[in-house]
């Protein structure tokens, strides 16, 4: 059996996940299949046999891959199969509806010198939305066999695919990149003399895109010659002074756009679906900005601020806790617990129940819950990648690009985690600017919810808060972009289709995030309560509050606001909840409320965020950001107070 499989020609199926590779595999092989881990990995690979025109073939179904440059273990295995299994034919399965997104990988496979047959699958679905693919024209342009199919129930295209495999002849097609890039590729390829499965042109491209596994392989095969190859690659990357990874991807995209010219047509009346129109509107600045404002108004202001922080919190906080639970628990404690300190710890001003449980359950949870619902709806619709494209132009002015939308949007959930995600930004410069802006001007979900809820009841306050936040964000970002040195990478991303949010998806994500959030904040709120009670009983809290009092007076705030700022350093949401208490006790007028909200939002990041900042950016940068943010918060608060009093706005 072993010797038989070794003499069999191999057909390797590759392609993105969910394009129907496994259906093609099952259709071709029937029940003669085995599934086992690929040697040295835990990734499963299916193998089966089929017979075409009397000849036996072994068929391999590889894990999903998006590109020849792997990121995940699955992709690494899929590429290793291509490198090590010497295929007779590589069938690249793509989804007809996403031809434009998936064709760049076909190009990569062809330029690697692999024997490629392109199977355009799911044609039935594409035709249903009025799309027509000219298979013959694409075949002519690509110079490889192209088969259209729908391998679901009808097994459409199966016989054409078998014929293409039977009659397969290796194509010598090449696709030219820009002249300077071609010169670089040629220069480096010439230096390689080893024996490779993939051709040298393709290897050069992967070396220029800093593929470490390929670099190791080239090093093995070239021996002493590798030093020259490595030097040439490094010199080219240095000379170009641009992100070559991105440049090559864009070039490939350009070639694919050219190849697709005249290949895809839409039937009359079916040119663009409504989702396509909405998608375009969201990315066009003229329509995209108003749409963004509508999303913010309905999603955040009305739903999170009005319904979450208003209606639900009012009910839980006012009716359930204040009127029913608190008096009952306080009564129980006073009756059965004779010790003052224990009463304070359980039901005192900062008690575990009266502050910790109340903040976590009655104030924060409804707000983050409604925020997570809004977030999941927006996320499930595919809006966020479009928002990234929309803000790319503005973000460039502040030293970032559209890619930074991800950490910024995540920051509205939790700044600590978003600070970690700044790792995905390409340059150190971008990471520093994004970390600074996250620490300064991006409120976390609970903080924003509480603030929206508080300010929505005061006409003009919310507008003053928003203008201050956006203004500080843009101004500090713009100044940071001038000061922080480093390169400015371009932004490029594929846009997934827009769709109607699925209720089940929204529900799952919301419940999952709420569970995670509650499990995380609840113990922290308990710890914070214990610390505050200890501080109160020992007098340390009073001393700390006393230290803050002069600053509060400078901001025009009452002394009681000091506690909210101290809470805020434990957690942003904790501070916001403290502000909520001050407002409900009637201690803040509209100007004070606005000043406190702005200063508290800008104020130093919470302990967790600071620690992550230190871990990610080091002591020097994180301490600089810490002091800068603290100084800026109080300076903006002071200036805003003066401005509001002087103009009479909100008075």
């Amino acid at each position: 059996m072993q010797s038989q499989t070794q003499t069999e020609k191999k057909i390797i199926l590759v392609g993105n996940p969910n394009v129907g590779k496994s259906v093609v595999f099952n259709t071709m092989t029937g029940s003669y299949t085995t599934v086992s881990n690929y040697p040295g990995t835990s990734v499963e690979v299916s193998r089966g046999q089929c017979e075409i025109a009397g000849e036996h073939y072994q068929v391999l179904d590889t894990p999903g891959m998006y590109s020849l440059l792997p990121i995940t273990e699955e992709e690494r295995v899929a590429r290793r199969i291509l490198l090590e299994e010497s295929p007779h034919v590589v069938v690249h399965v793509i989804d007809a509806r996403n031809l434009e997104r998936m064709l760049p990988m076909t190009l990569q496979l062809i330029e690697a010198g692999l024997p490629v047959v392109l199977l355009i699958n799911i044609m039935d679905e594409a035709e249903r939305v009025g799309m027509h693919v000219d298979i013959a024209l694409l075949q002519e342009k690509l110079q490889i066999p192209v088969v259209g199919g729908a391998m679901g129930r009808a097994k459409r295209g199966l016989w054409e695919l078998r014929d293409a495999i039977r009659d397969f002849e290796v194509s010598k097609a090449t696709f030219n990149y820009a002249t300077d890039l071609e010169k670089d590729i040629h220069g480096i390829s010439e230096l390689m003399q080893g024996d490779y499965t993939l051709n040298r042109r393709s290897l050069t491209l992967m070396l220029l895109q800093r593929d470490e596994e390929i670099a190791e392989r080239v090093k093995d095969r070239e021996g002493d010659r590798y030093e020259r190859v490595e030097k040439a690659v490094n010199d080219t990357i240095f000379d170009r002074r641009v992100d070559l990874h991105l440049r090559i991807s864009l070039e490939r995209k350009r070639i694919c756009n050219g190849l697709l010219g005249g290949v895809i047509t839409q039937k009359d009346g079916n040119q663009q679906t409504f989702a396509d129109h909405v998608s375009n509107w969201t990315m066009n600045p003229w329509t995209g900005v108003p749409l963004l404002l509508i999303v913010l108004y309905l999603g955040l202001y009305q739903f999170v601020g009005g319904f979450g922080a208003g209606t639900i919190v009012d009910f839980l906080e006012g009716a359930v806790f204040e009127e029913f639970l608190n008096p009952w628990v306080i009564g129980l404690c006073e009756t059965y617990i004779p010790w003052y300190w224990l009463n304070e710890l359980l039901v005192g001003e900062y008690g575990l129940f009266t502050l910790g449980v109340r903040y976590a359950v009655a104030i924060i949870l409804p707000i983050v819950g409604t925020f997570f619902v809004a977030f999941a709806v927006i996320e499930d619709s595919g809006y966020f990648p479009r928002l990234a494209m929309l803000v790319d132009r503005v973000f460039k002015k502040i030293g970032l690009n559209g890619r930074a939308v991800i950490p910024m949007v995540l920051g509205f959930g939790c700044d600590t985690m978003a600070t970690v995600v700044t790792r995905t930004l390409e340059s150190t410069r971008e990471r520093i600017i994004a970390t600074l802006l996250l620490a300064l001007a991006i409120p976390c979900s609970a903080q924003m919810g509480v603030i929206l809820g508080l300010l929505s009841g005061v006409p003009g306050a919310l507008m003053a808060w928003m203008v201050s936040m956006v203004g500080v964000f843009l101004l500090v970002g713009f100044l940071a972009a001038q000061i922080v040195p480093g390169e400015r990478p371009m932004f490029y991303m594929e846009i997934p289709p827009m769709r109607l949010p699925q209720i089940q998806n929204v529900m799952i994500k919301t419940l999952t995030r709420m569970q995670w959030y509650f499990m995380e904040i609840f113990p922290l709120f308990m710890i914070a309560s214990v610390l505050l009670v200890a501080g109160k009983l020992s007098g340390a809290l009073e001393w700390l509050v006393g230290m803050f009092n002069p600053v509060m007076r400078l901001l025009g705030l009452p002394n009681e606001a000091s506690a909210a700022f101290i809470f805020g350093f434990f957690r942003r949401d904790f501070g916001a909840a403290g502000l909520y208490d001050l407002q409900t006790e009637g201690l803040l007028d509209p100007v004070q409320l606005t000043v406190a909200a702005v200063t508290l939002t800008l104020f130093v990041p919470c302990v967790a965020q600071f620690l992550v900042m230190q871990k990610e950016r080091g002591w020097k940068t994180s301490l600089t950001i810490f002091f800068l943010v603290t100084g800026l918060a109080f300076a903006v608060g002071w200036a805003l107070n003066k401005f509001l009093l002087m103009t009479g706005f909100l008075v």
Binding site: S42, G64, E73, F384, I406, M417, E494, L611
Partner: protein
């Protein structure tokens, strides 16, 4: 599951990726290696419940 931002497929293998360590009780999210988006890991119980529900329907 698919990444909720860029729609790249996320596999259980990615659960092995180290989290930032900032969350108590460990990381309950998969950070997409393609775009950095945090995707919530659905608790087993909820997933089981939804599967059963789907099966009944």
């Amino acid at each position: 599951m698919k990444c909720t931002f860029c729609e790249h497929e996320l596999t259980p293998e990615m659960l092995r990726e180290k989290g930032c360590g900032g969350c108590l009780g460990g990381c309950r999210k998969i950070h997409c290696p393609y775009c950095g988006q945090e995707n919530p890991i659905v608790p087993e119980l909820l997933e089981k419940f939804l599967k059963d529900d789907k099966h009944k329907a």
